[in-house]
């Protein structure tokens, strides 16, 4: 255990030295770029910084002039306000959060499952209609579902899944971007490997589970992130397909909170608290998978 710790420490030192060496190699153009990018990053991150601080500000600090960026006396008041606000509509915010979690978990699992199943034959099997179907997926990359929201409403209504969790999950399941990214990544898996497995008597299902999936984990991680973000931030299914308030999700509730926010400072604290609840899970999941994300994007090209 102790040796392990020391090894870890040494490794850290090495990594730091590597880093220092890299920093020392920086030339003059790079310094200019670094300064420019740092300023720009500050601008990009500023709104997120004050969102974070806003969420913890007590009311008298929200009304302060001039407004401060950094919170002085952090408080959980806004979060408790957020809870209290909803109780007047008889539905506690915990219900929205609960719905959001259920829908996000189911929808993410569904998107990843159907997407990876679909991408495998598209990439590795030559079957009638396959290329045609992939072409259709490519075209549909362009379609924001907002544009077809009305017929989708009609479809969901006629399926009789309004006001159910299925009504949230099923319309989200088809994620063309996911299939596309996975297919591009699976194209990199050498065919010889699959042939060899086939000769050894492995079934298609086994090849898919034991060989293809482990080799495309970066792409799986990436579409998990994309799927999570799609589902977690989705207000559309709540707005369109749920009339029962108890079935709506957090993004929808946030939408009702934010109307005319710019002219009512008092509610900004609660809204910022809610926005933070929306933002943090996405950020954390991205931080965990970031390296795999970039690795996948190298194969994202449309050829």
């Amino acid at each position: 255990m102790k040796v392990d710790m020391r090894l870890q420490g040494k490794r850290l030192v090495y990594r730091f030295e590597d880093w220092l060496a890299a920093v020392r190699r920086i030339d003059r153009t790079q310094i200019v770029i670094i300064i420019g990018l740092t300023l720009l990053s500050a601008f990009m991150l500023l709104p997120l910084v004050y969102l974070f601080n806003h969420a913890f500000k007590p009311l008298h600090e929200l009304l302060l002039f001039p407004p401060t960026f950094i919170v002085n006396e952090p408080t959980m008041q806004n979060f408790t306000d957020l809870m209290a606000l909803t109780q007047t509509t008889f539905i506690p915010v915990s219900r929205y959060i609960f719905n959001s979690v259920i829908v996000t978990v189911l929808a993410t699992a569904g998107m990843v499952f159907t997407g990876s199943l679909c991408a495998y034959p598209l990439s590795k099997h030559k079957f009638p209609g396959g290329n045609w179907f992939f072409g259709a997926i490519m075209v549909s990359l362009l379609f924001a579902t907002e544009v077809i929201s009305i017929p989708r409403y009609v479809v969901v209504q006629s399926l009789g899944i309004m006001n159910t969790y299925l009504g949230h999950v099923l319309p989200m399941i088809a994620l063309p971007v996911g299939v596309f990214l996975l297919k591009q990544f699976m194209d990199q898996v050498p065919n010889e490997l699959l042939e060899a497995a086939k000769i050894d008597g492995a079934s298609e299902v086994k090849i898919f589970l034991r060989i293809v999936l482990p080799l495309v984990t970066p792409a799986m991680a990436t579409i998990t992130i994309i799927a999570f973000q799609t589902a977690w931030g989705n207000a559309e299914t709540s707005t369109l397909f749920m009339q029962d308030d108890a079935m709506k999700t957090l993004p929808f509730y946030m939408g009702t909170l934010t109307s005319n926010l710019a002219n009512s400072v008092a509610r900004q604290g609660a809204a910022a608290a809610g926005a933070l609840i929306m933002f943090l899970p996405s950020l954390i999941i991205f931080l965990i998978y970031q390296r795999k994300f970039i690795a996948t994007m190298a194969h994202s090209g449309i050829k």
């Binding site: 990018l37 709104p47 099997h125 030559k126 544009v147 950020l283 090209g301």
Partner: protein, 335 residues
């Protein structure tokens, strides 16, 4: 793609044709062809099984709605009565009677799309290129800083910026301008038609460095370093030339992917105006195609008319898609 398939089929048919010659009959009847196709399909039944779940969801929630949207656009439909056929009337009204559409929505959409689309795309490329010039130890942090705002997507983005543009002096922007003495009294940014559009563009570009941006970054990093050295020998002297003659041509597939994503996200971020200022936006200053569809579809419940607007938007997107593919598909001599 289709060429690929047909060439494959051709090979198969040739093999079969040869067999047929040996068997003595040269021409095959359509029924034989059909039988062979069915046999081929049966042989790949497992492939179809793999695809089935996605295919079902894709058909029900994307293909059928698009088809239904096309049908609905030729009807009068108020969500209660059965749709009645009106022919091209919706489209005629859209382009001749709908003053809001012609005076506000169309020019707004054009302006918004032009700035957020191409301009945002060029920004993303330049940023990705600059970040790629840094040592890898630093690269990740800057990429994260640019990417993080896009994580706020949807509703959170509205909260973040509504707080900044708060209409009285406690808003960050107002207080900053007051302190500099540039304005004398706070501006109601989001209720003012002169500001709303520009704010929407700024906010959308801020939040647009998403997967498209990361794809561009990965694409730039993936370019073979030897190409740059070869380029130097061939007389490329400036970084700009390097970008134009080496970087861009060797990452066209990623450029195309990012462009497609950029169109979709431009379209999606169109909702930012209504999220910040309500629907309809003050004086229709921030009204875009998507908000116009929502206005007619879910506030006035003229679903047939709203579908017609959707179809117009779909056609525009398809045309853009064609244009992008023409622009970015690598030509034969470049591969």
């Amino acid at each position: 793609m289709r060429n690929d398939m047909s060439s494959n089929v051709q090979v198969n048919t040739r093999v079969r044709a040869e067999r047929a010659v040996i068997a003595g009959s040269v021409k095959r009847s359509p029924s034989v062809k059909l039988k062979e196709l069915l046999a081929d399909i049966w042989k790949h039944r497992l492939s179809y099984l793999f695809i089935a779940p996605f295919f079902a969801a894709f058909t029900i929630f994307i293909v059928i709605p698009i088809a239904a949207g096309v049908m609905l656009s030729f009807t009068y439909f108020n969500a209660i009565e059965f749709p009645t056929w009106v022919g091209w009337l919706n489209f005629q009204n859209l382009f001749s009677q709908d003053i809001i559409f012609l005076q506000h929505v169309l020019p707004n959409s054009f302006k918004f799309a032009l700035f957020v689309g191409p301009l945002g795309y060029v920004c993303a490329f330049m940023l990705a290129w600059l970040i790629a010039q840094l040592p890898s130890a630093l690269r990740m942090w800057y990429a994260l800083a640019m990417y993080a705002p896009s994580l706020t997507g949807g509703i959170a983005i509205a909260v973040v910026w509504q707080v900044a543009f708060t209409g009285d002096r406690t808003g960050y922007i107002n207080s900053f301008l007051l302190k500099l003495g540039l304005i004398e009294k706070p501006i109601l940014f989001l209720a003012d038609k002169d500001y709303l559009m520009n704010i929407m563009i700024l906010v959308s570009i801020w939040g647009s460095m998403g997967i498209g941006f990361l794809a561009l970054l990965a694409g730039i990093l993936n370019v073979d370093k030897q190409l740059y050295e070869a380029g130097k020998i061939d007389g490329i002297s400036s970084r700009l030339q390097e970008i134009w003659y080496i970087t861009v041509p060797s990452m066209k597939p990623q450029m195309l992917f990012a462009a497609v994503i950029s169109i979709v996200s431009t379209l999606k971020s169109g909702g930012v105006g209504t999220a910040m200022a309500g629907n309809p936006t003050p004086d229709y200053a921030g009204q875009l195609m998507v908000s116009h569809i929502d206005d007619y579809g879910f506030i006035r419940f003229e679903l047939g008319y709203a579908s017609a607007i959707s179809i117009v938007l779909l056609v525009i997107m398809l045309l853009l898609n064609k244009l992008l593919h023409a622009l970015f598909t690598p030509k034969e001599d470049e591969v």
